[in-house]
Amino acid sequence: MIRFERVSKRYPNGREALSELSFEVADGEMLFLTGRSGAGKSTVLKLIALLERPTRGVVSVNGVNTATLPARRVPLFRRGLGVVFQDHRLLMDRPVFDNVALPLIVADVSFKEIDRRVRAALDQVGLLGKERAVPLELSVGEQQRVGIARAVVSKPPLLIADEPTGNLDATLAAEVMGLFQRFNEVGVTVMIATHDLPLVRESGLREITLAAGSIDAAELPPMAALR
């Protein structure tokens, strides 16, 4: 699903965020991306979502080489993945329904279909009945779940999440993680960047640990042997 081949990323300010990073994620896999702040986790996710392009190396997602994808195909490419942010990035002045419907609206899905699929996505995250609420009326955990509903409403084969539990307490974090696991069970590839290590260890899933823009050799993935 995701393949990084000797990927380096240098930002215009000269900082090298990734150097010669290589890894692969299989279809239907669920895994974690860990490491300290500044280790390159966000950069990896940005390269996958094509918010950035690599300076060197090849990033391929779902069989598409992102380096050679023309700009006009980028929107279509992005419809094939769902993104969840720590700060959920909801449109605060729009009701929940509009927020979740956005990926379908941009993809020219019919209104009838939008209605059906938004309800289905809200049902999956346990927020059916909150369509008309605005995000500010919801709790932090609920807002994050709206963000997740928006990421999965178009049924993308790949879901990436940047610190999705960063603002949540342990109970809410476990709840959100349970949601991701359920999507993974129906075949969605899930990649979660986090520094919530207890949560990672508890899940027993594969972990890619970054340090200074490469795979941290000192810290072997502890649970990899179990898989």
Partner: protein, 310 residues
């Protein structure tokens, strides 16, 4: 396929409705923007109305223009009638009045009160005259000159008199106003584009978060731009309508005075306000300028928040 087209139509309808709603919710800001653009459109529209009215008035002045064609002494009345008929047949001539030497003498006797003096003359000294009036469209300097030289070409014609100074001046003034109209229209059109462009730029900046999220979930540039282009066109259409109303109100406020002025000069003149065609032009110009301003602003702003390439 039909489904896709109807979806496409629904999307555009959705963008139009949501943009209209957005503009209505920000009534004060929208009103000020529309007012600024409408003033920029109103001035050229007003000048156009002025030029059109002055041209119309000029057409009625053409009645006062005449060429006096003096025939050589001894030209027979029959020959004079033939010349008058030939002149009358021309496309640029409205009417020809033949005044024979005898008629001329009779007129002079009746009007001048020098009848006794005229009686002492052995012969009638007056020539036969053709009073030629050009059509309204021919009452412009170049065509009058052509008409004059062609009339003077006949062998029986002694001379042709034409007072064309006023026609030249009048034409020059109308031409000056018309050029002023074009220059002001160009400058003010640029002003309208700038006002709309700036409004849309601020709008895009204030909706930066929304645009970013829209792009992230796969919204194309066209999708992101669409509501802003609609906003630009709506601003332009509203401003075109407002400009037309402003000029119509100004025209009706001036109509009475213009008629009094014309009456004082012994003419009859009706000020014609902006026409339906001019409403169409104002709306069209507004829409095009609005679209242009929005497209320029959206192009610049959106390229700034595109994903960086290598």
């Amino acid at each position: 396929m039909a489904g896709r087209i109807s979806n496409w139509g629904a999307r555009h309808g959705h963008a139009l409705v949501s943009t209209t709603g957005h503009l209505m919710r920000h009534g004060m800001a929208t009103t000020l923007t529309v007012l600024a653009i409408s003033l920029a459109l109103a001035l050229p529209l007003a000048l156009n109305v002025v030029v059109r009215n002055v041209r119309g008035a000029g057409g009625s002045f053409a009645d006062a223009i005449g060429l006096s064609v003096y025939l050589k002494p001894g030209t027979s009345e029959q020959r004079a009638r033939a010349l008058a008929a030939a002149a009358r047949a021309r496309a640029d001539v409205a009417s020809v009045t033949l005044i024979t030497a005898t008629q001329g003498l009779a007129q002079l006797r009746a009007q001048s009160g020098i009848g006794a003096a005229l009686d002492t003359l052995p012969d009638n000294p007056l020539p036969t005259v053709l009073e030629v009036r050009p059509t309204a469209s021919a009452a412009v300097p170049q065509r009058l000159d052509a008409l004059r030289s062609q009339l003077a070409g006949a062998p029986e014609v002694e001379s042709v008199q034409l007072d064309r100074d006023w026609a030249v001046r009048f034409d020059a003034i109308v031409e000056l106003v018309r050029r002023l109209l074009w220059i002001s229209a160009l400058l003010l059109a640029a002003g309208a584009v700038a006002v709309i462009g700036n409004t849309i730029r601020l709008e895009i900046q204030s909706r930066g978060a929304q645009i970013e999220v829209t792009r992230l979930v796969g919204g194309s540039n066209a999708f992101v731009r669409r509501p802003f282009l609609y906003a630009g066109v709506l601003y332009g259409l509203a401003a075109g309508l407002a400009a037309w109303i402003i000029v119509a109100l100004a025209g009706s406020a001036l109509a009475g005075q213009a008629e009094r002025l014309a009456a004082a000069y012994g003419g009859s003149f009706v000020l014609r306000g902006p026409s339906a065609t001019e409403l169409g032009t104002a709306l069209g110009a507004g829409a095009v300028l609005g679209w242009l301003g929005a497209a320029i602003a959206a192009g610049r702003q959106l390229s700034r928040i595109s994903p960086r390439s290598r």
